[in-house]
């Protein structure tokens, strides 16, 4: 079934982000304040007492506020910016949002200025963009529509993440197998940009990483390969990396995008593919993409298995640590775990007082201390009313282990 039909049928594509994250519409509050007025250009200017306008603004030296976190002033960056600018001129698909810096969105959020943030709309648009990208693969497109789609999709997703980082934490693949590829690319972009915005010294912007994430697996449909749930060492499948880079080279994608796509299955210890690079050759931005891609596979494979077989819960954050502890820079892994939490939402855990709890949400920066809800208290009873514990504040309590489904059944008996 084509995506447009699926969308029109009202089939849910993603689990929506937490419902309590809706933004307040506060524009009326701004308008309630009648003075001083905001004058548009067309409105007549307010005639105030001009006689007092005798002040003399001092001609003092200009102060330039510049971030030092990202060492971006390189010739390579300039070349990328020029290419990006040229591509932007050719854009035929408009972004839902202008790609303003995060700082502006943060300021708007702080001032409670409403921003259009229809997350489902963004996701639907992203799915359509993925569909279009796949359609464009067979034909070389000199208008660079594919790059524009990827860039705008990344910008839109980043926009929503900047408003609500939970958006990137509630990933789920589409239950429709024909949309699994779409979901994988979008989820990877969400995870990667969410991670990138909290890290310093990355070779490019989070939005560029998002763009690479949208495009990282285009070699798969380009080779007419089936998108599979697990990573595979099948020699034919491995070629999808080179095929994707080849396609992006034809499209004259920026170097950094091609590099990230080329390295998205590499590992820091040299065990990745296709080139087995290691050390400094494995760029930080590529590591972010690679880790995010791997996490998406593990997390969504877990959801997929749970949904279809009802298999026991598994801590896929711990699985990341187990699988990838030597595969990525420790600082990136640390930031990832700190952001995602050690115990994902929905995990059943046992506390030091022997109560069984379900993880409700994460405390960012405190990966071992999420917010939990008691399912079975320390006396072995189900609480009459919902009791929520913020483990960050409850110093006397800690998680001692994850409870498997078997364990929960034992408790239930």
């Amino acid at each position: 079934m084509r995506l447009s039909k699926i969308l029109d049928s009202g089939t849910p594509i993603f689990d929506s982000a937490p419902k309590n994250q809706e933004r307040k519409a506060v524009l009326p509050r701004l308008q309630e304040n009648p003075t001083p007025p905001v004058t548009s250009f067309k409105a007549p200017a307010d005639n105030t007492d001009h006689q007092t306008a005798t002040h003399q603004a001092e001609a003092r030296p200009a102060v330039v506020y510049q971030s030092t976190a990202h060492p971006i002033a390189t010739n390579q960056t300039s070349a990328r910016q020029t290419a990006a600018h040229q591509t932007a001129i050719n854009e035929s698909i408009e972004s839902l949002y202008n790609s303003l810096p995060d700082a502006i969105y943060s300021a708007a959020k702080q001032l409670e200025i409403p921003i259009p943030s229809n997350k489902n709309l963004v996701l639907q648009k992203a799915m359509k963009a993925m569909d279009r990208i796949i359609t464009l693969i067979p034909a070389y497109d000199d208008k660079n529509e594919m790059l524009s789609l990827a860039r705008n999709t990344a910008n839109d997703l980043m926009m929503v993440i900047s408003l609500d980082s939970n958006f990137a934490k509630s990933i789920r693949r589409s239950p429709k197998s024909e949309l699994a590829f779409h979901s994988h690319c979008i989820n990877t972009a969400l995870i990667a940009m969410d991670l990138a915005k909290g890290l310093d010294n990355i070779e490019c912007s989070p939005n560029e990483i998002g763009m690479a994430a949208i495009l990282h697996d285009i070699g798969i449909p380009a080779m007419n390969l089936d998108f599979v749930w697990q990573e595979t060492n099948d020699k034919n499948f491995i070629k999808h990396v080179a095929k994707g880079v080849e396609l992006l080279t034809k499209l004259k994608a920026p170097d950094i995008i091609r590099t990230m796509v080329a390295q998205h299955h590499e590992r820091l210890d040299g065990t990745g593919y296709p080139n087995g690079i290691s050390g400094k050759d494995f760029l930080v931005c590529s590591q972010i993409l690679s880790l995010s891609e791997g996490f998406e596979r593990i997390a969504c494979e877990h959801h997929h298995a749970s949904d279809t077989t009802g298999s026991s819960l598994e801590n896929y954050t711990q699985k990341i640590l187990h699988n990838y502890r030597k595969a990525f820079n420790p600082d990136i892994l640390k930031a990832f775990i700190s952001m995602r939490g050690f115990y994902p939402d929905g995990t059943m855990v046992e506390l030091t007082n022997r109560s069984i709890c379900m993880v409700l949400k994460q405390n960012e920066g405190f990966p071992l201390k999420p917010v939990v809800q008691i399912v079975i208290d320390s006396a072995g009873n189900h609480p009459d009313t919902a009791k929520v514990i913020d483990l960050r504040a409850a110093n006397h309590l800690a998680i001692i282990r994850i409870v498997t489904e078997d364990r929960r059944q034992t408790h239930s008996l």
Binding site: T39, F41, D46, H55, A62, A108, I115
Partner: protein, 129 residues
């Protein structure tokens, strides 16, 4: 004599940026005169040059922020405007040097914070009391 209401020219083609600046100006009892293009800003300056402040984006349609800065410098009644460049453009060091000669303050949108801008407004208001 009562102090007249302070006035600020806001020239930016992004509505969200305009809303942010306007809200902060309003909180500080500064009237906003919002335009979204270079020619509108120049016309506004010509009509009422007695702005106390101008917050200007560099990249605008129908004229740039540079044009507005030049107009402010040349206009006899506008040259004392406290000018703030608020830009998301990647400006070179040489461009920054040129801006320093024309504007009092340059803020990159990437580094914009409510607190920083509030400090700027507080400093401006205290200086002009």
């Amino acid at each position: 004599m009562a102090n007249r209401i302070k006035r600020a020219l806001v020239a930016d083609d992004d509505p969200l940026v305009c809303q942010i600046i306007t809200k902060l100006l309003t909180k500080n009892k500064i009237e906003s005169f919002v335009v979204e293009s270079g020619d509108q800003a120049l016309a506004g300056l010509e009509d009422n040059p007695d702005f106390d402040m101008a917050v200007i984006d560099l990249v605008l349609t129908n004229g740039s922020g540079w044009d507005i800065l030049d107009a402010i410098k040349k206009h006899a009644n506008a040259k004392n405007i406290y000018t703030v460049i608020l830009t998301g453009a990647n400006i070179s060091s040489s461009e920054i040097e040129k801006l320093k000669k024309k504007a009092q303050l340059v803020i990159k949108k990437q580094d914009f914070t409510v607190e920083t801008f509030q400090d700027v407004l507080s400093g401006l208001l205290n200086k002009k009391k």
